[in-house]
Amino acid sequence: MKKRILAALLASATLISMAGCSSTQSTSSTTSSAGDGQSSATEAPANSGDATEAPAESGDATEAPTESEAPGEDKAAVDCVDDITLADGEGKVLNIAVWNDDWKKQFEQYIAPHMPKDVTVNFRITENKENAYQNKLDNDLPENESKSADEKIDMFLFEADYATKYVASDVTLDVKELGLTDDDVKDMYQYTKDVCTVDGVLKGVSWQATPGLFAYRREAAKEILGTDDPDAVQAELSDWTKFEAVAAKAKEKGYKMLSGYDDSYRVFSNNVSKPWVDENKNVQIDDQLMAWVDQTKKYTDEGYNNKTSLWDDAWTKDQTPGQKVFGFFYSTWGINFTLAGNSLKTPEKEGGKLEVGNGEYGQWAACYGPASYFWGGTWMAAAKGTDNPKLVGSIMKAFCCDPDFAKAFAKETQDYANNVPMMKELADDPDYGSTFLGGQNHYALFFNVADKISMDKCTIYDQACNEQFQGAFKDYFDGKVDKDTALANFYTKVKEKHPDLVTP
């Protein structure tokens, strides 16, 4: 008898806890689908969780807000998006492959409220540690057509360094097949289209352009150069010779010009005159890359840098308040997201806000630096075999092609949207200023750099070459090997990634 009572108790406890589970789930999905601009971005992950296959439940998004919440007469970005309809015969499950939840959050904030009710969106997140994301794509994409409709990858995101690998193969679709017209993409930056164009066919689009600048500490500039005015500082840093002279001055004042070895890499590697690999698969080292090597070796030996490596803890620490490093080469996202976040005394995780007074927020400025360059950027493409080509096309149109959305999105997120006329409007806006950069209109700077970006020297080997080149020369900067050994090590490493390459 006792046993029976116990069993009944246990059973009811299980039932209650399950009911509890489902009720919390349903509440969280309603919060996320309410989609009121800013808040949904932060609340949405609670619902869809970090499980790779968690459905985003965007189908519930019925109550898209109709009234604008942005200050002034401008519409909020989420309201610029038209409701998306599902074309006849398209699948009800949309699978999107990504490597983190950055874009997932933006999707949930801006697009999800306008998605067709009966479509389930699954984000398949594979972290890109040790190339895991690409390995997954490499396995899945060639087999995509043979999968069942709900299993197929419909859309995936990728970065500049390995863009060519996918767009040059037949696993991606022409955006025209998705319903995008030449008119839709006419305002995009040419380089963002060049990256994804193979034999005249455009196979991917981006919502952002990523021109780079040199961001510096105003305090340090005053101490080293006697001024923190961006124009005056730019005059002092306008070429590499001047840059080095300032580095020497900075050392006298107890500052490091740069944090580490890789900081200026993109500024050189984006200005090369030949691609990494020629048509006969010979690896070729551009003079610009060797210029980076020589400069970095000199800076290291002279003590102009802190010997850190990109993304390591010491490098990140150099961006936090009170560190004696003059500045960083960073592009749009780097300044607006990474650097701004690192400048805080109380990080956002601990409840700190992105506002002046919290650490060094507002005490930075930006100038062009010695050469124009870009860094990073994310593109999206439709995977061959998708059963939702039109739906993917509609999402691309809404997120990457709509000028009103581009402008509102840029203002809300501080990201640099991929729309030339709209960015020009922002760049010319005398009232606009970034609080992080002490009121400087960073769009004006970005705008001038973005025009100069060219990306016509892409190869499928770029990622391996860039990573291994930076890695191999670390030993040279540390004084462990000579230049020739470092170069030989680079050749070995790059051949491990691409055995078909020909090296000396």
Binding site: E130, N131, Q134, N135, D138, L141, P142, K165, Y166, A168, S169, V171, K307, T308, D312, D313, A314, K317, I460, Y461, A464, G471, K474, D475, D478, K480, V481, T485, A488, N489, Y491, T492, K493, E496, K497, H498, P499, D500, L501
Partner: protein, 336 residues
């Protein structure tokens, strides 16, 4: 062998049938293992050998091969002008030795103390648990911990900076300090395990042997060197062989510590890290297969050397020789 049974040895034949009845079950019980072994071990093993003679890899999204290429893969991994297997074997063995030498010394000492009746140590359970503890931590987690502790801005360097004019010692940019850290981690992770094994061996020694030695006036040093050590030799050899094979396959600790680079200048790149680099992005089954085979041969050879060199002492070897000679003579006599 079966013929004599037919000549009229009824009873043994019946007995054999009895064994046969049960023998069937032995085979049946073995089936799951054999099937799993054949599918998941033997077949891949054969394929590894096979593909080591082929050019077979992926570049970007395109597969190349398999094209037969003779011994090109083996030539490539022994190419002295670049990273080659000799250098990698050296790296691997040095890092193994840095960890193993202190490990075996400390383990012998601890095992001797823990099993020594005259010391009568208290709270042995606690000690045993504590020294075994590091082995329970995941190697990668342990590696991350050491990485943060010894990084340029880590706590160890904060201490070093105070009496080195603010300059950190860059542990992971110097060959010997990086090798030392790998050795240290392997030592800390495995000395507890070795201690427990050696304790088991020492507890197996008959107490009366040691008492007899004591009565004869042997000191504790003499007892250790002349009695304990020779008697635990088989276990010592076992520890050495397993550690050596484990050491040759060293991967996770240096991989995490150096971010897969084997920095500086590939001096902490181990055999398996090299294999991983070749299989990681490019799925280079040819080169990776060739490396696996060489590692297999090195492991087998070293194990044989250790086994024949140390497992049997001089008298056993001579006894074995005599026995073999006697057997030979016996066979020759029968043959006549």
């Amino acid at each position: 062998m079966a013929q004599p049974a037919a000549v009229g040895m009824q009873a043994p034949a019946k007995k054999k049938g009895g064994i046969g009845k049960y023998k069937k079950w032995g085979y049946i019980f073995m089936i799951p293992f054999v099937v799993v072994f054949l599918i998941f071990q033997a077949w891949p093993l054969i394929q590894t050998f096979y593909y080591s003679f082929f050019e077979y890899y992926k570049t970007g999204l395109t597969w190349v091969g398999p094209n037969f290429c003779g011994i090109d893969n083996f030539a490539a991994i022994f190419d002295f002008s670049r990273v080659n297997l000799f250098a990698l074997t050296y790296n691997t063995l040095v890092m193994w030795a840095i960890g193993f030498i202190p490990q075996i010394i400390i383990s012998l000492l601890f095992a001797y103390w823990f099993t020594n009746v005259r010391l009568r140590l208290k709270c042995m359970g606690i000690f045993k648990t504590i020294i075994y503890m590091p082995n329970l931590i995941m190697a990668s987690a342990f590696s991350m911990l050491i990485f943060s502790l010894f990084s340029d801005i880590g706590p160890i360097n904060e201490i070093i900076k105070t009496f080195n004019n603010g300059e950190p010692f860059r542990f992971l940019s110097n060959t010997w300090s990086t090798m030392g850290l790998v050795g240290l981690m392997n030592f800390m992770m495995w000395f507890g395990n070795t201690t427990i094994l050696l304790m088991a061996a020492m507890m197996g020694i008959n107490e009366s042997v040691i008492e007899a030695a004591e009565i004869d006036g042997a000191g504790s040093g003499q007892i250790f060197w002349k009695i304990t050590l020779p008697l635990i030799r088989p276990i010592l050899v076992y520890v050495l062989i397993t550690s050596l094979i484990g050491g040759l396959q060293m991967f996770d600790v240096p991989q995490i510590l150096t971010g897969g680079m084997g920095s500086p200048n590939n001096t902490t790149l181990t055999l398996i890290m090299y294999l991983n680099n070749n299989i990681g992005t490019s799925r280079n089954y040819g080169i990776a297969g060739a490396i696996s085979i060489v590692v297999f041969i090195i492991c087998a050879a070293l194990s044989l050397v250790v086994y024949y060199g140390f497992a049997q002492d001089k008298t056993t070897r001579e006894a074995n020789k005599r026995a073999k000679a006697a057997l030979k003579a016996e066979r020759a006599r029968r043959g006549q």
